[in-house]
Amino acid sequence: MEPKKIKAPLSDEDVMALKSGDNVLISGVIYTARDAAHKKLVELMDKGESLPIDLNGQFIFYVGPTPAKPGQAIGSAGPTTSGRMDAYTPQMLEKGMKACIGKGLRSQTVKDALQKHKGLYLAAVGGAGALLSKKIKKCEVVAYPELGAEAIHRLEVEEFPATVVNDAYGNDLYAEGAREYAR
């Protein structure tokens, strides 16, 4: 099946048009955040303070890249394990995030929140950091520079490959894929 080309950020309609198992190529602006940045964002939400980025419609990519060499936009940049962000994801969705990209299993709470808020969880190929770095054309730190690799980066991506794992209908590729090939 040919991958679907999609543009970031996403609308509710864009989200509802995608299903678990769809391969997509993402172009546009996405943001990075992993453990430490999530903790800071959710602390601000809890205090009712404004966030350093507007999450409406956005993709959040769970990544901590290697340092860029001179001339590179970014170093190796593959997804990190998403489960560590589970505690924060429902609040991120409440604040408007539409999709997150990582790898690995999500909690039932996250899957429920994706349905409730019309969101997507996608996986990029874990350990394909060199290949994925070539799809990132521009990278700049927009918040928490003190976190180094864990800072929030704004990325301009072109045809960044990912696969929809959990859609807004409650489907789960990890469960269905293994069932199909188990023997």
Partner: protein, 281 residues
């Protein structure tokens, strides 16, 4: 007595840090290409293609294979006829790690204080170092940058001797099943059996340093490695957990004598990159 300068150790270690993180080993490369031939799932095939292309880009453009350039883990076999000059072995290895990770533009992923401040040490030190004193006048350094995502999917269990082969197989297969897509499959499964609580974990780690796909020299364990690998692949988890035939590229078991009351078992998983290198100095 042969004299060896600490700076020589550091030079080798710095080179090994860069090399292991940029060049995918021929052993894994070959297994990924074999898997592409046998994988039945279209999405699984696409993942394998991306992994092969990723390794080629990493090699050709000198970009780390994965952004998680790991905890620096070393097994050192130190010939007892060798005298180290100009520093301690720990200092020499850590100086090499510091230089290799800085000059190689590798990610520094180590925090000093695991529970409270979690402040990055800034140079990927300290390394984890296991040292054996062996006969002879050579030094063998084995290095693996170990990713956190796969490392988190590890387990030790003190099985009962009466659990037998079936209990051991169940422990390993059920553990790997629970890990699912998290450790970036297709995975290499390092398994330890025997020894104490601590020793069995080290054996599982050591298993990940073996040339990937080589079998245990004892034919009983070689057969067991294949049995466990087949059971893991029959789970259908497949590349990246998207469903398919290739969940594990290899299962390596390292055994050690056991206490009469115990049968310790450990699983240490590595991602498909299974980066590892060795040098004899």
């Amino acid at each position: 007595m042969r004299e060896l300068a600490a700076s020589t150790i550091s030079d080798h270690v710095a080179e090994m840090c860069e090399e292991a993180n940029i060049y995918l080993g021929e052993d894994v490369f070959g297994l990924l290409k074999d898997a592409l031939e046998t994988e039945e799932s279209p999405t699984g095939k696409e993942v394998l293609k991306q992994l092969i292309e990723n390794a080629e880009i990493a090699r050709d453009e000198q970009i780390p294979i994965c952004q998680d350039t790991g905890f620096a883990v070393f097994f050192v076999e130190w010939g007892q006829e060798v005298h180290l000059t100009g520093g301690t072995l720990d200092e020499a290895i850590n100086a090499g790690v510091k230089r290799g990770y800085e000059e190689g533009y590798l990610r520094k992923s180590i925090v000093k204080d695991p529970l409270y401040e979690r402040k990055n040490t800034g140079d990927n030190t300290p390394a984890v170092i296991y040292t054996d004193i062996v006969p002879g006048d050579k030094v063998k350094i084995s290095f693996a940058p170990k990713g956190g995502g796969s490392e988190n999917m590890s387990a030790v269990k003190m099985l009962k001797p009466s659990d037998g082969e079936a209990g051991f197989i169940d422990f390993v297969v059920n553990h790997v099943k629970a890990a699912g897509p998290n450790p970036c499959p297709p995975i290499v499964v390092g398994v330890g059996i025997g020894g104490t609580f601590d020793k069995v974990a080290v054996q599982a780690k050591k298993a990940l340093f073996r040339h990937v796909g080589d079998s245990h020299p004892d034919s009983r364990f070689a057969k067991l490695e294949k049995t466990i690998k087949d059971k893991i692949n029959d789970l259908g988890v497949g590349p990246q957990g998207f469903g398919g035939r290739t969940f594990a590229l290899a299962v390596h078991i390292e055994d050690y004598p056991s206490h009469i009351a115990s049968m310790a078992a450990a699983v240490n998983i590595n991602c498909h990159a299974c980066r590892h290198l060795e040098r004899v100095i």
